[in-house]
Symmetry: C2
Subunit: 211 residues, 2 copies
Amino acid sequence: MNLEMEHVLPQDIERRSMEIIAQELGDRRLDDANADVIKRVIHTTADFDYADTLCFSPSAVEKARAALQRGADIVTDTQMAKAGINKQRLGNLGGQVHCFMSDEDVANAAKEQGTTRAVASMDKALSLQKPLIFAIGNAPTALIRLYEHIQEGRIRPELVIGVPVGFVNVVYAKELIMQADVPFIVARGRKGGSNVAAAIVNALLYGMGKR
Amino acid sequence: MNLEMEHVLPQDIERRSMEIIAQELGDRRLDDANADVIKRVIHTTADFDYADTLCFSPSAVEKARAALQRGADIVTDTQMAKAGINKQRLGNLGGQVHCFMSDEDVANAAKEQGTTRAVASMDKALSLQKPLIFAIGNAPTALIRLYEHIQEGRIRPELVIGVPVGFVNVVYAKELIMQADVPFIVARGRKGGSNVAAAIVNALLYGMGKR
C-alpha cells in the first residue's frame, strides 16, 4: 500500500477511484448493464464483496432509468439515504425523495399497531400517485411490508432497491423481495446500508447523463 | 443461514442484533472502553472487519464523552453523516452538528484555491469557538487539511473521527492523522463512510446515557 500522497486534482478523484476499482476487479466480468451500479457501490463502500452480492432482476437498470425519465419519485426508509441522493439531478427529471420516518402520523401509526415506523412509512407511501422507486437501506421490516403490498396488488413499484443492513431478518427480507414480481436491485446477505441505497440511486441518475 | 422470519418486537431488534454480534465475535476480546463503538459500527455495516481496523488513541472514548458532556459541537464533511447523527441527544448536551459542504462561501473558496470543498470546510471550521469533535466520513482531503491545522496550532480538536472511505489518499490520510497529537478514532484501511462516522458519534452519545 502506497503511503505517499498521490497528487490528484479534486475534479479527477472520482475518475481515478473508478480506474483503481476497474483495475482491482481485474478479469472479473461485470454485466455491462449493471456495471455502473456495482462500481459506484464499491466506490461508496470500498467493499468488493458487492461485486458478488448485488443481484439484479432482468433489465432492472434500464427499467429504473425509464421510470426516472418519466419523473419517478424515490421513497426511502432513512434520512441518511435522502441526504445522500442527488436531489438536484432527480429534480431536473421531475422527481423528488420522500422519507416518512420522522413524520408524526407515521410515529403514531407505528405505536398504535405495535410495528416499526418503517412499516408505517411503507403504508403511507401507498397514497403517493406517481411512478415510485423504493430505496430501502435500513429496515428489513420495510421490505417485508412492501412485499405484502405488492403481492396484494396495492402497489406496483418501478424498482425496489433492497439493501437493508443488519442481523435480524435482513437476509430473509431480501430473499423475500426477490420473489415479488417487480424489478429489483438487492444486496444479498447482511451488508448494505443507507449509503449503498443512495449510491445505487445516484448511479442510476448519473448513468442517464451519459446516454 | 436462517430463512425463516425471526419474530422480534420492534423495540428489541437492536438488542437482538447486538447479541448476535457479540456471539459472532466469539472469543475475540474487545477493549472494554472501545467495545460500544466497535459493536455499533459493526451493527451499522454488518462488517466484522471493523473489529480489526478501528484504532483508538489512549482514552479516546472517555475524552470524547467528557467533551460531549461539556457541549462539544460536531463538524462533519457530509450531509449524510449529519443526517445520521442523533441531533436530539447531542442537543440535550448543548451540542450541534455543522456541515459546511453545501455552503456557498465554501464552494467559492474551494474554486478560488483549486482545492476540494472538504478542505475549504475545514478552514471554515477554524472560526468555531467551541470544543469540537470532527467526524470525517468521506474526504481524505479534509483529514489532511485538519492535520495541517493541528500541527500548525490553529486548532485543537477534542477528537478526530477519521473514517473516510475510498481509493485515493484515504489510507494515507488516516495514517497521517494518527500521527497528530490529538485523540482519534480511525478505521484503518480503505473502508469507512458517513454511516460509520455517524455510528461512532452515536455510540459515544448512547454510551453516556448508560453511565
